[in-house]
Symmetry: C2
Subunit: 384 residues, 2 copies
């Protein structure tokens, strides 16, 4: 089922539901219609030739008197790995650089200002195996190394912010590994890095074998194109994580992920979108595609026989807006680039309309949460 | 559009999408299929005769060795008001008692253990008018008064927990008004009351004109049928509110609401469901149905002319489970009773599987949130 050829929810709805009813279905499921963003013919042709899906959409905001529209284009890239997982490490990295590089070139043709890749984009998502070699060899420094240099080149060449989620090797602090997103400014400078705050222990996601919970808190990066943050993968299940990025001012929160159909697909359309609504910000959920096969078999702690893959990464990357609307999802099966034009003025407009921050009573929660984490916490339970 | 006769999303999908594709559509949209709960013929006939929709579904859990299944049936009731809004106050209240009473009788036939009514169920949702009279006359004491007596009779008669969200008059504390849910034990005793923590200032929801933010914190009620909490209406937009009920042990969180199509319909399927996922608990979202007309016109602060209703309450009540699945929604247009059989063991099973509480790092958030509410809070922003 998870590996079925089912291409996308949106396309299936469009194919079968008559227009008059489709309007209500789309409104209830996806909120206000996003407009289609017209992309240049050369971009469309390049995507066709390079065999990836290209979609564009727009989120508009109301006109204001004192602020100009703040128009930003974000690019979300989802892709399958290129070489088999037992190819030489550097060849796998180089092949992924090449593949993602040709998608970024199309993003540049589409006027993208900020591009974000999927989680651990330079490698297979090999943590299911619990083996250390050769997977830890994919780890790189966030400040130097082939991948960061590659991203710096892209950033300068295309005047684009690049969010690059990698397996990080921190040589300065005991050669430890981290799951990290590096943010490269459009100047080419490394603006900073932010680490995955919540590490899963579910299904085949044995990542806690490799790295610990991030120690970079909830940094927000002020870029020329707005304030951005990165909530990596499993952090999307934690509403407090989204919330704290938002409290620090994030207008766009990227969620580079790697997750499979059997485990999480029905949760995928809910969580990042709820975060956009609850925090009056844009969220960008990115998942890889395809099935990754490993040479050595491994078990999944589910009573089933040993096997060589962890299931089907279902893509379906999307952008959600603070007004509850969302973009169509990219394909469940193909590499893709989703270009979304955002007017960042929408975030404050929806903040003023709905007022969740104003009505949030955060002082009460700070007190209650401080009590709740104490050893002697007594839940507030009323009995007859 | 909001007042369109569109009956329900689920029915439209079933009508048009071929079975082979419907399976994937349903899986992505609604998670694991819930089983249909067979209800007694006399209940089905009574619902037909009394002209309301009756639906039943089951959420199952895995077998355990040391715990028996903990099977509970909840009933969610959604309804339109019965009399015109300018009928005498006591006649309106009595008519609603009669209507809801006949639905509760069917709930009893269905073996419901805990029933929850919609927000401010004894009255029209008149706060759009900003008038004080006659609407404040609908307020009643939580401890005595016709509505609590009525609920106590139902509770004893049917051995059922009754969650009764009313406009409360607190005579002891300066005759103040509150938006309150009273929880009546199946013994007939008032177990307690819990007040709406977050009050909206959006659209026609001028409730802050009538009552303040609740002062009862995040109490959980230990009943014979599990630990329950009530997150009233606008509180569903606040992830911290759901979270704190869950931290206090809630296994089922009811969300009695009143909300209209134009404002919130695309957010409705997202928020309570996200809360069930994020907090490893069941959530029950209840909304009223129909359009309520008022004698005096009022404006909506949206540049439009004065008018006499605040739009269409779209029903669509549903139950969401911790595993990401959800029940079908009740109708957008009709009175209804949704009976859901829950195995409460699912909450701890999903907690053990996904581990959001274990990986939640609440000490970090307690510290960050405590800082974030200070006057001199400096957002954690990195600049080039």
């Amino acid at each position: 089922m998870a590996g079925s050829p089912f291409e996308s929810l949106e396309k299936t709805l469009e194919k079968h539901i008559p227009p008059v009813e489709l309007k209500d279905v789309r409104r209830i499921l996806f909120g206000n219609d996003t407009k289609k963003l017209e992309l240049s013919q050369c971009a469309v042709e390049a995507a066709l030739e390079r065999d990836f899906e290209l979609q564009g959409c727009m989120f508009e905001a109301g006109q204001e008197q004192l602020r100009q529209p703040r128009i930003v284009r974000v690019g979300l890239i989802q892709n399958a790995i290129v070489l088999p997982t037992d190819a030489p490490v550097m060849e796998q990295i180089t092949a992924l650089h090449r593949r993602v590089g040709e998608v970024v070139e199309v993003a540049a043709m589409c006027g993208v200002n900020i591009v974000c890749f999927q989680e651990a984009w330079t490698m297979p998502f090999a943590f299911c195996t619990r083996e250390k070699m050769p997977w830890t060899e994919f780890a790189e420094s966030a400040e130097e190394g082939p991948t960061i240099r590659f991203c710096q080149e892209l950033a300068k060449k295309y005047n684009m912010i690049v969010v690059s989620p990698i397996l990080e090797r921190d040589e300065v602090h005991g050669d430890t590994l981290w799951n990290t997103a590096v943010v490269v400014s459009n100047s080419g400078a490394v603006l900073g890095k932010t680490r995955k705050n919540h590490i899963p222990r579910v299904g085949d996601f044995n990542e806690s074998t490799y790295y610990m919970e991030g120690n970079t808190g909830h940094q927000v990066f002020q870029t020329q194109f707005g304030k951005i943050a990165v909530n990596i993968c499993y952090g999307r299940h934690h509403p407090l994580n989204w919330f704290m990025y938002s409290m620090n001012g994030a207008e766009i929160i990227f969620n580079p992920s790697a997750t499979v159909g059997e485990l999480s697909e029905p949760m995928w359309p809910i969580e990042a979108r709820n975060a956009a609504i609850a925090n009056h910000c844009f969220t960008c959920a990115i998942n890889r595609v395809g099935t990754e096969h490993f040479k050595n078999e491994f078990t999944s702690a589910d009573g089933k026989k040993a096997h060589q893959d962890l299931g089907y990464f279902y893509g379906s990357s999307y952008v959600a807006a603070p007004d509850g609307s969302r973009s169509p999802g990219l394909s469940r099966t193909r590499d893709g680039l989703l270009v979304a034009e955002l007017d960042l003025n929408l975030t404050r407009q929806i903040n003023d309309k709905w007022g969740f921050k104003m009505t949030g009573r955060y002082d009460m929660y700070a007190q209650e949460l401080t009590k709740a984490v104490q050893d002697d916490f007594k839940p507030n339970i009323v009995k007859e």
